[in-house]
């Protein structure tokens, strides 16, 4: 069974190897202490962070950044809320300087109700940032044409949504996500956004997705630390199940107890 342990099952993002299949956001937690405890319980190795305006001279931001550094986690800064290519590119450049990483979770939002990616702006921004040396994690849809263009632009990871950000609806388009996995067997694929329950994370990993990224489902749970533990267990279960090759479903029953030797026949 050692063959199935996580330490023999590395996931690579731009040459960086991780074992955890769970990436988590750092927003919306009731307190810094609960954030820290939940991050530990999640066993996540990568956390998302952001950049915002601050009145206090930068000191509040620094205390948050110190907390993240003290946990020894790798950060994936985002361009959350950006609505134009120019905003997203400038935010990415600011994040690279402040956090000291070429990684960027690229969001270009095109629509308010679903916070749907503006895939046209996304591809354009991805090209600019990849050309500038960034390692881009694009928040996208399951559209294969857009995905191909993101790879052409230089992205080596794709992060399709499961469902709209913060909705907790799980995997909205199973057919599309299966097709994406089948179409890109060798590209790291991360379900980003829309997951609400650990069973949905397990489902994503059972489908063969390499990892999931979520925030609200843990941060807004009644007990974020326990929920972080539940998501970690679900990701382990889903990944192990995927590697163990699940049986094919069939339409008709087939007895599991041997028929041969049954009495009264």
């Amino acid at each position: 069974m050692d063959d199935f342990s996580a330490k023999n099952d590395l996931l690579h993002f731009y040459g960086v190897a991780v074992t955890s299949r769970l990436l988590v956001g750092t927003a919306q937690y009731p307190s810094p202490a609960i954030l820290a405890a939940a991050l530990r319980a999640s066993h996540a190795e990568i956390v998302t962070v952001s950049l915002r305006r601050e009145a206090g001279g930068g000191r509040a931001g620094e205390s948050f950044w110190e907390l993240i550094r003290s946990l020894g986690l790798r950060v994936l800064p985002n361009t959350a809320g950006c609505r134009t290519v120019k905003e997203a590119v400038a935010t990415a450049q600011m994040a690279r300087e402040l956090f000291g990483t070429p990684w960027i979770k690229l969001e270009v939002i095109g629509e308010e109700d679903l916070l749907a990616p503006d895939v046209f702006g996304l591809v354009e921004a991805a090209r600019i940032l990849c050309d500038d040396g960034f390692q881009v994690f694009p928040y996208t849809t399951e559209d294969l044409v857009v995905a191909e263009k993101l790879l052409d632009a230089g992205c080596k990871v794709l992060m399709p949504w499961g469902a709209p950000i913060g909705s907790g609806r799980g995997l909205n388009n199973l057919f599309g996500l299966r097709a994406m996995r089948a179409h890109f067997p060798d590209i790291p694929l991360v379900i980003d956004a829309g997951l609400g329950a650990p069973s949905q994370a397990a489902q994503a990993l059972e489908l063969g997705y390499d990892a999931v990224l979520l925030n609200t489902a843990i941060a807004r749970a009644g007990d974020p630390v326990a929920m972080a533990r539940a998501f970690a267990a679900a990701c382990d279960a889903g990944r192990t199940a995927f590697r163990a090759l699940p049986m094919e479903p069939r339409d008709m029953a087939e007895p599991s107890t041997p028929v041969l030797g049954k009495a009264f026949t």
Binding site: A27, S50, R52, R53, G57, G58, G61, E62, N78
Partner: protein
């Protein structure tokens, strides 16, 4: 000189971005800056003049999803 800092109108005494950070009591190493939606590196702030109506963003690390 009236400029816009983080979305608010501000009557600035400073003539460059580096001086503006000091005027506003920001710790320069803890922030990232942009003028008119163009990123300005830390080491370029002193060489970045401010003009009437400029839109300055001063950002710090924050929780994110």
């Amino acid at each position: 000189m009236k400029i816009v800092v983080n979305g608010e109108i501000f009557e600035a005494q400073s003539s460059d971005l580096d001086a503006l950070l000091a005027e506003l009591d920001y710790e320069p190493a803890l922030v990232a800056t942009a003028v008119n939606e163009n990123f300005v590196r830390g080491k370029e702030r002193a060489k970045t003049p401010l003009r009437e109506g400029d839109r300055v963003e001063i950002l710090t690390p924050r929780q994110g999803g």
